[in-house]
C-alpha cells in the first residue's frame, strides 16, 4: 500500500517533470498560473499568455467545460437521464423492500433494485430473483 501524504504539504504531490524542455516549460507555467486563476475564473479565456500551447490548452478546457456544464459536474448523457425518470415513476414501498430483503437474504439496495425492475411487484421480484441469469 502506498503511503498517503497528508494534506499539510503540497510539495510531495509534484508530478515527475515531463521529458522534453518545451513541455516542462508549459507545465511549470501552468501549475503556477492555473491553480489560482483557472479555478477562480472558472475557465474564462485568460489573457496575455505568451505560450501558444497554453492558449490551446485553455481553449480545450473551456470547450470541455461547456460540454460538461460549469464546474466540472459530471455530464449525464441523455440516456441515463431518461432511465432515471422512468425509475422515479415506480413507487417502491419501504415495507416491501425490507420484506424482500429478509425473504431473499439480500442487501436492501439489491432488493430495491429488484423491485424497481419489476415495477414494485413483490411476487414478480421474487420470481425474477430465482430465475437463473444464464
Amino acid at each position: 500500500m502506498s503511503d498517503p501524504i497528508p494534506s499539510a504539504t503540497e510539495a510531495a504531490d509534484q508530478p515527475p517533470l515531463p521529458a522534453n524542455a518545451e513541455d516542462r516549460k508549459a507545465a511549470a507555467a501552468l501549475s503556477s498560473l492555473n491553480t489560482t486563476e483557472l479555478a477562480s475564473s472558472n475557465g474564462s479565456p485568460a489573457k496575455g499568455r505568451s505560450n501558444a500551447e497554453q492558449e490551446a490548452l485553455d481553449k480545450a478546457m473551456s470547450r470541455l467545460e461547456i460540454a460538461a456544464g460549469q464546474g466540472g459536474a459530471p455530464k449525464k448523457s441523455s440516456q441515463p437521464l431518461k432511465e432515471a425518470e422512468v425509475k422515479k415513476t415506480v413507487k417502491i414501498v419501504a415495507a416491501d423492500v425490507s420484506f424482500l430483503a429478509e425473504q431473499l437474504d439480500v442487501h436492501k439496495s439489491k432488493a430495491t433494485e429488484l423491485l424497481r425492475a419489476q415495477e414494485g411487484d413483490v411476487t414478480r421480484a421474487m420470481k425474477a430473483f430465482i430465475t437463473p441469469s444464464f
Binding site: N20, A26, D105, K127
Partner: protein, 838 residues
C-alpha cells in the same frame, strides 16, 4: 477552536510532517509531543501524531487520538483528512470517502485530499464520484496529460465511451504544433488507448482509420499489428487481413490465434482438411523447428491422414525425448478413435516398428535406449490417464522406463502418480519421495513431493519438505513465509488435508488465509490507480481493473470457497467437531450417548494439549526475540498470530453465516458451477431461507438437470416445504409453490419418482447413490435394502475409486456398518489403501 501556534512551534509542526513523510516515525512522535506539551489542544498536531501512530501499528489508539483532535478543531482539513486516512487503513472505505469529502469542503484547493478521494472512489468503483473528482483535478492542472487521460478512463469505465474519446481528442488537439517524439511512451499508449475505445463503440471502420493514422508511430508494434489484423478480418477485408496475419505469423509462428485468423481470411472451410493441412505444412517448411504448425493439424485430421500425421509427430518428439509430449497429445483423446490410433502406434514403437526411420545400426545403442525409455514413459502416462486407463499396464511400462533410465526424475514421478490413481496415497507419497531424492535441488519435484504428503494427510511432513525452499527465519517460520509469499496452492492443499482429517480449526484457518490473500489482491490494485497513470500504461491498467472486478472467479478461490463451506456445514451438523476430530464408534456405527461424551472429553483434552504446545512454542520464540531484536528489515513489526490453531474460527456463533461469506461471491461470479449451487442449497435450507435455496435449485437445474445431488436435493426440498407451507408469508409461499412445481410437481408420488430415477440411471454409481439416499429419506425403514443395493453397486463396471470412497462416507452418514463395503472394495482394488478402516 484551533489554537494558534507561535513561530517556533509552527516550525516544529512542519518538522512532524516532514518526519512522517520520511518515515521517521519515532522522531515524528517525539516532535509532536514537544508541540503538544505547550499546546495540548492543538488539533492538527494531534491528528499528525495519530497518523504516525497508525503506521506504527497502533490503529486503535490512533483512532482515539484522531477523534480528540477533531473535537478540538472541527474545522481543520488536516484533522478530517487524517480521519479519512485512518478509516482507509481500517478498510472502511465508505467512511473514509465521507471524511475526505468533508476535508475537501474545508479546503477545496487541496490537491492531496482531492487525490486521495479520487483514488478511493476508483477503488470503490464510484464512477460518478470519480468523474467529478477527476474533472476538478483536471481543472486544477490542465497541463498534465495524465489528468486528461484519467478523466477519459473515468468516463470509459462508467460506460460513456463517447465522452471518453472526446476528452482524449480535446487534449490531442492542443498538441497540434509539436507532435511528441516517437519515444514518448505516454503519447503512444494514450493513442492506442483511444483506438481501443473507438473499437469498443463497435465502429471498426473508424477504428481502423484511426489506427492507420497513428499506428506507425506507436511503440507497441505487436498490439498495432494485432488490432489491425483483427479489424480487417471483422470488416471482411479478407485479402488485407490475410496479409496482416501472415505478417504476424512471420513474427511468431507458434500462436494458434494467428493461424485461425489466417484461415478465416483465406476463407478455407473448416471441413476442407486437405487445404488446411497444406497451409500448416507451408509454415512447417518455413519454421522447421516449430511445434504449433505440426501439432494443430492433429486436431482436425481424421482417419488415415490422422494416423500418418500423428505417427510422424510422435516419433519426432519421442526421439527428442520431449517429456511434455503426453500432456500435448491427451487432448486428442476425447475422440476415442484417435486415442486408439495413438495407443496402437506407440505400442508398435516399443515392439520395434519405429525402426523404419532410424538409420539401421549406424545409430548408437544409446540413442535407441533414450527413444525406448521415453516411449515407455509415454505409455505409462497414457495408461494412467482416465480416458485410457489401465493401471497394471501403466505400472509395467513405467518400470521398464525406470530400468532403462534409473536417474530420470519424471519417470519416478509418473510411478507415484500411478499409485495415486490406484487409490493408494501412502505408496504414492513414498514413491514421490524417491523421485525427490533423485534431485534434491529441484524445486518442482520438491513441491510435488510436498503435495503428495499433504494428499496423504501428512501435514507436518509436507511443511517440512516445503521448508527446504523457504526463508525460515521469518516470523512464523516456514508457514509464515508461505503465507507471506502467498503460496496459495500449499495453503489450499493443507486446508483440504485438515478437512479430510476433520481438524476443522486448522482447515478453516488455512481457508481463511487464502481468502485473505484474495482480499489482498483486491487491495493491491489501489497502488495502480495512480502508478499506472504516472507511467502512462493505461491499456494494461484498464485490463487489470476489469480483471479485479471478476477476481473471485479464480479456480483457487472456487476451491477454497467450496472447501470452507463444507467445513462450516460439518461444523453446523456436528458441533462437537469444534473440539477436534471425534473418534467414531467401531467401524463408523452410531455411538451411544455415553461413548459420545467420552470421545468428546478426549478430543477436548487433545485440543488443550495442542494449545499448550503452541503457546510454549510462542513463549520460546518471544524469549529468543527479546535477545535478538527480531524486527524485520523494513522496520515493520510483524504481529505474531494469536490463534495458530484456528480455535476462535471454529467456535463461531453462526457457522452458516460464515460459510456464506465464502460462498456468496462464488454464487454471483461463478454461477455456472453446479457444486457451488448444490452447496448453496445446503446452507440456505439449514437457515430456513427457502427462496435463496430454491434459486440454487433452479440454477443447478439449468446447468445439469440430471445431476445426482440435485435429484436428492429436490426430494429434500419437496418434503420440507410440504411440511410447512402455512407458516410462510403468503407471497413467498405462492412463489415457491408455483416455481417449484416446475421442478418437481406436488402431485408426483415421490417414491415412484425416486425409483424411476434409479432405474433410468442404473449404470451410473453416483446416481445410484443419490437415489438410495433419497429412498432412505422417504422411507427410513428401507435402510437394510439400501445398504444391500449400495454394496451391489460395487459390481457395476463403471464404478470408480472416488465413487467408492464417497459411498463409504454415505454409509457413515446413514449410521451404517462400513466393514462389508470396505472389504469388498478392498478386494476390487487390491492396490488401494483408502479402504483400510482403522
Amino acid at each position: 477552536m484551533p489554537q494558534p501556534l507561535n513561530s517556533k512551534d509552527q516550525s516544529l509542526f512542519r518538522q512532524v510532517v516532514r518526519n512522517f513523510e520520511q518515515k521517521q516515525y519515532k522522531k515524528g512522535i517525539k516532535s509532536a509531543d514537544q508541540v503538544l506539551r505547550k499546546n495540548p489542544k492543538h488539533g492538527d498536531t494531534q491528528a499528525m501524531k495519530a497518523l504516525i501512530m497508525s503506521h506504527l501499528g497502533q490503529l486503535e489508539e490512533a483512532f482515539v487520538l484522531a477523534k480528540e483532535a477533531l473535537r478540538n478543531d472541527m474545522k481543520s482539513h488536516i484533522c478530517w483528512h487524517v480521519y479519512g486516512l485512518l478509516y482507509r487503513q481500517e478498510k472502511n472505505f465508505d467512511e473514509a470517502i465521507k471524511a475526505y469529502r468533508f476535508a475537501l469542503r474545508l479546503d477545496p484547493e487541496s490537491q492531496p485530499i482531492q487525490r486521495d478521494l479520487a483514488l478511493l472512489q476508483m477503488q470503490m468503483r464510484d464512477f460518478q464520484g470519480y468523474i467529478q473528482s477527476r474533472s476538478s483535478m483536471l481543472q486544477a492542472r490542465p497541463g498534465l496529460r495524465q489528468n486528461w487521460t484519467a478523466l477519459a478512463i473515468a468516463h470509459h469505465l462508467s460506460g460513456d465511451l463517447e465522452e471518453a474519446e472526446k476528452v482524449l481528442t480535446t487534449y490531442e488537439d492542443t498538441l497540434k504544433d509539436g507532435v511528441p517524439p516517437v519515444a514518448d511512451m505516454e503519447h503512444s499508449e494514450a493513442c492506442l488507448y483511444k483506438n481501443t475505445i473507438i473499437a469498443e463503440t463497435g465502429n471498426l471502420e473508424r477504428a481502423l482509420e484511426h489506427l492507420e493514422k497513428i499506428g506507425y508511430r506507436c511503440t507497441d508494434v505487436l498490439a498495432v499489428m494485432e488490432l489491425k489484423a483483427d479489424y480487417l478480418l471483422r470488416l471482411g477485408r479478407k485479402s488485407e487481413a490475410e496479409e496482416a496475419y501472415t505478417a504476424l505469423l512471420e513474427r511468431n509462428p507458434e500462436n494458434s490465434v494467428y493461424y485461425n485468423g489466417l484461415i478465416q481470411a483465406k476463407e478455407i472451410p473448416e471441413t476442407d482438411h486437405k487445404a488446411l493441412k497444406a497451409l500448416y505444412d507451408e509454415w512447417v517448411k518455413k519454421n522447421p523447428r516449430g511445434d504449433a504448425a505440426r501439432r494443430i493439424p492433429l486436431d482436425f485430421l481424421e482417419g488415415e491422414d490422422f494416423k500418418q500425421a500423428v505417427d510422424t509427430y510422435l516419433q519426432r518428439m519421442l526421439k527428442k525425448g520431449v517429456p511434455s509430449l503426453f500432456a500435448n497429445i491427451k487432448f486428442l483423446y476425447s475422440n476415442s478413435a484417435k486415442r486408439d490410433v495413438v495407443q496402437s502406434l506407440v505400442e508398435g514403437y516399443v515392439s520395434g516398428k519405429a525402426g523404419s526411420q532410424a538409420n539401421g545400426s549406424a545409430e548408437g545403442k544409446e540413442d535407441n535406449n533414450e527413444f525406448l525409455a521415453s516411449t515407455y514413459y509415454f505409455l505409462a502416462l497414457h495408461y494412467t490417464y482416465e480416458l485410457s486407463q489401465n493401471l497394471t499396464k501403466a505400472m509395467e511400462n513405467v518400470d521398464k522406463a525406470i530400468e532403462l533410465s534409473p536417474k530420470a526424475v519424471e519417470y519416478q514421478l509418473a510411478k507415484a502418480r500411478i499409485w495415486k490413481h490406484h487409490g493408494n496415497p501412502v505408496k504414492a507419497a513414498d514413491e514421490m519421495e524417491k523421485a525427490r531424492l533423485l534431485d534434491e535441488k529441484d524445486r518442482y519435484i520438491n513441491t510435488k513431493a510436498a503435495k503428495y504428503r499433504l494428499r496423504n494427510n501428512e501435514n507436518e511432513k509436507g511443511l517440512d519438505l516445503m521448508s527446504k525452499f523457504t526463508r525460515n527465519e521469518t516470523v512464523g517460520g516456514t508457514l509464515g513465509d508461505l503465507h507471506e509469499m502467498q503460496c496459495v496452492w500449499f495453503l489450499t492443499e493443507d486446508a483440504e488435508a485438515f478437512l479430510r482429517q476433520k481438524k476443522l480449526g486448522l482447515a478453516l484457518k488455512r481457508f481463511h488465509s487464502v481468502f485473505n490473500i484474495f482480499e489482498t489482491w483486491q487491495e493491491d490494485q489501489f497502488d495502480f490507480h495512480s502508478f499506472s497513470l504516472r507511467k502512462g500504461m493505461v491499456r494494461a491498467y484498464v485490463d487489470m481493473v476489469r480483471w479485479e472486478d471478476r477476481l473471485r472467479e479464480h479456480p483457487f478461490y472456487t476451491r477454497i470457497a467450496l472447501g470452507a463451506t463444507k467445513a462450516y456445514l460439518l461444523l453446523n451438523d456436528q458441533p462437537d467437531l469444534a473440539h477436534g476430530p471425534i473418534a467414531n464408534g467401531p467401524n463408523g456405527t452410531e455411538v451411544s450417548e455415553e461413548d459420545r461424551k467420552k470421545a468428546l472429553k478426549k478430543a477436548k483434552k487433545e485440543q488443550q494439549r495442542l494449545e499448550k504446545i503452541e503457546s510454549d512454542k510462542r513463549e520460546a520464540r518471544k524469549a529468543a526475540a527479546a535477545n535478538a531484536k527480531s524486527q524485520s528489515v523494513d522496520g515493520e513489526v510483524k504481529k505474531e498470530d494469536a490463534d495458530p490453531l484456528g480455535n476462535t474460527l471454529v467456535q463461531t456463533k453462526d457457522a452458516l453465516k460464515d460459510a456464506l461469506k465464502f460462498l456468496a461471491p462464488l454464487l454471483e461470479l461463478n454461477a455456472q458451477n453446479i457444486e457451488a449451487q448444490c452447496l448453496g442449497f445446503e446452507v440456505y435450507i439449514r437457515q430456513n431461507k427457502y427462496l435463496p435455496a430454491l434459486k440454487c435449485l433452479t440454477a443447478a437445474n439449468a446447468i445439469d438437470p440430471s445431476n445426482p445431488t440435485l435429484h436428492l436435493q429436490l426430494l429434500q426440498f419437496r418434503k420440507k416445504i410440504d411440511g410447512l407451507t402455512d407458516s410462510l408469508p403468503a407471497q413467498t409461499g405462492e412463489v415457491i409453490g408455483t416455481e417449484f412445481e416446475k421442478l418437481l410437481p406436488k402431485s408426483q408420488n415421490l417414491e415412484e419418482w425416486n425409483e424411476s430415477f434409479l432405474s433410468a440411471n442404473k449404470d451410473s454409481v453416483a446416481h445410484i447413490q443419490a437415489a438410495l439416499s433419497g429412498r432412505q429419506l422417504l422411507n427410513p425403514d428401507s435402510k437394510a435394502q439400501c445398504e444391500k443395493d449400495l454394496l451391489a453397486s460395487l459390481d457395476s463396471p463403471a464404478v470408480t475409486i472416488e465413487e467408492a470412497v464417497a459411498a463409504l462416507e454415505l454409509l457413515s452418514k446413514w449410521g451404517s456398518e462400513q466393514t462389508a463395503y470396505a472389504e469388498k472394495a478392498s478386494k476390487k482394488w487390491p492396490e488401494s489403501s483408502v479402504f483400510q478402516l482403522n
